[in-house]
Symmetry: C2
Subunit: 583 residues, 2 copies
């Protein structure tokens, strides 16, 4: 059993404990289900009278009291009739029993202390010893079976750990994550907003958020161009025929928005860029000398998300992907994939992300027997998977293999990122595609004047700009490094008589391309420092009599460090160095 399985059993046991305590405290409560989830567990209850977080201490105390007697779980098999008799007042459990019966499975009850519950098992051996610490976290409404046609139940989220220390560390992390939440910081730092009139999932970037985005986008584009990518612009809508040609339409239909009819033709908001780049390639015959062709684009894409799934910049209805399609000869593919990983790791390093710690790779493989999910071409699968594996191995990359997670058209390397909650997600992918070239009849003329089919590598270098932004806001807790900070310096004249010099310094810095604000309000210096600190500008430049006399500014970092009085020139030099080094 690995540590995650151990934790899951512990937490599932603790969910039983929560249910047991509830029945003691509120005997009319109907129990439903209580699974372990990532980082904790929950239990859904149907209460007679609503409860609130104020009851948490009482409940936790009761749980602690009961836990003393929970030495182990015992279980017994029961008949449908027995089970239903046991739950004669609980329609939820009876519904679950019906399902178990329908599947032809056995009905089992699990017991610890004097509490017995319908359950499939999977508990700690000794809950009293194993559950070292637990905590109830929050209450939320949840429909029975997640279906809004059903009754709304009360869900209690909680977590449990083997030791008090681990729980404490987890709670600190949760607190920190809450402070770093990009939705909260996005509002506080005025980076992006939503408008109900414009619509859900459609962020409007404020001037400050847009500054960060623009710098980020230019950085990506310039870096890619340096590495031989051909950056292009292709339209965000296209005739439905394009996605029928690519085969995406029937497959991707549910995540695409409804067609727009123009002059009896149907146009779609594009859900992906590849067919657009293929059409560019197809514009004229291509020679082996032109390959690899690395079409790249900051591509606006549109994918359907249920309104309940939308979340800040993390899940939106339109996003901009740093996308590319490398059309390459088969024998060049290995080097190309390797170069892509070089680029990804370079960009990650700029954001101080460490491979193996902040992100890792997952090699998603096909299944030769699943001909529905995977294009049938065993040789190509073998070849493609071997290339990706070879690249990862040669780099000594941190990666795991995930059978059955490949795309329809070939295997891929998923870039798995960890966010501030410690949650791991696929941020973006590098895919090896031997199917689309056939579909689009992509060819090139070889040195021997024959016609050959290239392969395509679909890749991103950083993912969707919106998600990167959400990620970076949380990573930096809004305190962006100098090169990205929307306001790099706030100048703070101490009194009105220092404003004139402030304006002179502002102009000087602005002319050098520095993003600078001048706070000329008639406020006390402490208030100005507090406001500049709140907006997390990397530097404050305080200006008083001495500074005006010496033609200098007194520089203070956002963490409070005092850099003393420096001339504008030397400050500028220091700023430029930090910006060039991207720190």
């Amino acid at each position: 059993m690995n540590s995650q399985e151990y934790l899951n059993q512990l937490r599932h046991s603790c969910a039983h404990l929560l249910a047991a305590a509830m029945l003691k405290l509120y005997p009319d409560t109907k129990l439903t289900i209580g699974p372990a989830i990532e980082n904790g567990f929950y239990y859904d209850f149907d209460f007679e009278k609503p409860i609130s977080e104020e009851n948490f201490t009482t409940i936790e105390n009761k749980m602690r009291e009961l836990l003393k007697t929970w030495e182990s779980f015992s279980h017994r098999e029961v008949t449908e009739q027995e089970a239903k008799e046991f739950y004669k007042d609980n329609e939820y459990k009876r519904e679950l029993i019906d399902e178990i019966v329908k599947k032809g499975e056995k009905i089992t009850f699990y017991k610890a202390g004097d509490f017995e519950d319908l359950c499939r098992g999977g508990h700690s051996e000794n809950p009293r010893k194993d559950i070292g610490a637990f905590k109830l976290l929050s209450i939320a409404g949840a429909y029975w079976r997640g279906d809004e046609k059903n009754k709304m139940l009360t869900r209690i989220y909680a977590t449990a750990f083997p030791t008090k220390e681990e729980l404490a560390a987890h709670l600190v992390m949760l607190e920190e994550a809450k402070k770093r939440d990009h939705k909260k910081l996005g509002k506080e730092l005025d980076l992006f907003v939503f408008s109900e009139t414009v619509g859900k999932g459609l962020p409007l970037w404020t001037p400050k958020g847009s500054t960060i985005r623009r710098i980020l986008e230019r950085f990506i584009v310039d870096e890619e161009i340096k590495r031989g990518y051909l950056h292009v612009y292709t339209p965000d809508i296209a005739n439905i025929a394009l996605y029928e040609k690519s085969g995406h339409y029937p497959y991707y239909k549910d995540s695409m928005y409804a067609p727009i009819t123009i002059d009896d033709e149907k146009f779609m908001l594009r859900p992906m860029t590849c067919p657009h780049h293929f059409e560019l390639y197809l514009n004229k015959p291509r020679s082996y000398k032109e390959l690899p062709m690395r079409y790249a684009e900051l591509a606006k894409l549109y994918r359907y998300e249920q309104s309940g799934e939308l979340s800040g910049l993390q899940r939106v209805r339109t996003f901009t992907l740093a996308d590319a399609h490398i059309i390459t000869r088969k024998d060049q593919a290995e080097k190309e994939v390797n170069d892509v990983l070089d680029l990804i790791e370079y960009i990650a390093a700029v954001f101080q992300l460490e491979p193996g710690k902040d992100y890792s790779y997952r090699l998603s493989l096909g299944d030769r027997n699943d001909e529905k999910k995977y294009f049938k071409d065993d040789t190509s699968w073998d070849h493609a998977e071997e290339i990706l594996r070879k690249v990862l191995k040669a780099r000594n990359a941190h990666y795991i293999e995930a059978p059955g997670e490949a795309a329809f058209y070939g295997p891929k390397i998923d870039i798995q990122m960890k966010n501030v909650n410690g949650k791991e997600d696929t941020a973006f992918t590098v895919q090896y595609d031997f199917v689309m070239p056939k579909r689009f009849k992509l060819t090139y003329i070889t040195e021997e004047r024959t016609e050959e089919e290239p392969v395509v590598i679909h890749r991103s270098s950083i993912g969707a700009i919106e998600r990167v932004m959400a990620f970076l806001i949380e990573k930096y807790a809004g305190a962006f490094p100098i090169w990205l900070a929307p306001v790099q310096v706030v100048l703070l004249p101490i009194a009105d008589r220092h404003n004139e010099f402030g304006e002179k310094v502002q102009k000087e810095l602005q002319n050098a391309g520095i993003r600078v604000e001048l706070d000329m309000r008639s406020e006390r210096l402490q208030a100005k420092i507090r406001d500049a600190t709140l907006q997390k500008a990397p530097f404050m430049g305080i200006i008083g009599d001495k500074e005006v006399d010496n033609g200098a500014i007194s520089v203070r970092k956002r963490d409070g460090e005092d850099l003393g009085s420096v001339t504008v020139d030397s400050f500028l030099q220091q700023l430029r160095q930090s910006i060039d080094k991207k720190i």
Copy 2:
């Protein structure tokens, strides 16, 4: 009579002459209509047998022969019966007669020489003397009355001038315009393509075209930011409610695409940016200290164009407007408008466009009596028009006034650009808006803590990127200035043994940010020079034995000028200077 009216009469007379010649040569031909148009005239015929451009000389000779006898036009009024008897074999003319009768107008026939035609008049006094020169230009199909349900007629395009010299100059300009046509050059220089599968009016920008576009866009954005604009990103789709709120929807409906339904809500591809920027402004209460707020965006917009209207990058179905909305106190508006014109003229100057010659202003005014077309608020109209007029006058700007051409919500300054055909069009506008602030309830808190309504200046600085690109391709005939050229230098090793040094120079230039190509084909130097010249790269760098020995390159400009042998360093310095100066 101004010179344009004089030309129109001359050309309309020449259309009669063409019809007369046709009847002599092809007596079975049915005449229809033949108006003067910009730069010439046409006549639509229904021929028994098709004719081709090979017949033009015969027709022109016959016209010249007839013209000798055309001393003047006489006219007479005829009854409906007489007219229809005259045109008993011509159903087109009878249809026209019916319309004249229906309108209660008089039926008139105009005669010159022995040719008489149904006509409203408007001819030269003495065609023989006035028509100094004419030329038939081309043949095209055209449906009768422009309706595709009607018969396809044959349209002959032609032109006429008072003198042979003027005709010759015009033909030279047509020839030049043809060579500079952006659709032709876009293809030859591989700048953009269209794909039938993607759809009409949806250009795909190739890597080379995209390079020019990217540089252009960054130039605009950077220049605007320098001038205090706040560049933002807002979504390209929005709930229909947004355009209902702005009042655009019913008014703009015909040029918007059909709604996309998402979760029972209707979303529209945006046809304009203003309501998006207003929603950003509305996100929090605003103080007078924040004004003017200059929201700017490279905004992707979608407007319906009939497929017949689509033309290269000039008329497309989605375009990117360098858009901005300045939300300003009324008393700041004059300065803001003036600053906008400063920016426009600065950017125009970068492209070597002269005010008064290549572009001029048009002050479009409202009509106080037309309450349907114009928002009723005489005082605001007077005030707004006076501000725009004052700015134009104070600048000594080249402008004309155009009553009844204003927008619904206020007067505007149209920027009228002349293209290579000498054709003048409104490229973009600067609009003064006192209506939207009311609609959106835009307000700000004054110094006295009262609430006040700002005004909005809608403006572009350069227009739509697509149209600018079309314009610039034609202006430069594809020979872009160095700072914009997609390939700035092509290196031409004379023999294979010079390739290595070529690669070294290429790397050196690339590291300095220069866009450079290296032609390592085993072709003769002359062939390489020809190809580099065809792609209009500003510089060629020829590399032979001497160059390798001296660590230099032999530089040649695209116009053939030989700059001799220079070191890579000094060449680089020269390039950097030109790029910085945008030449």
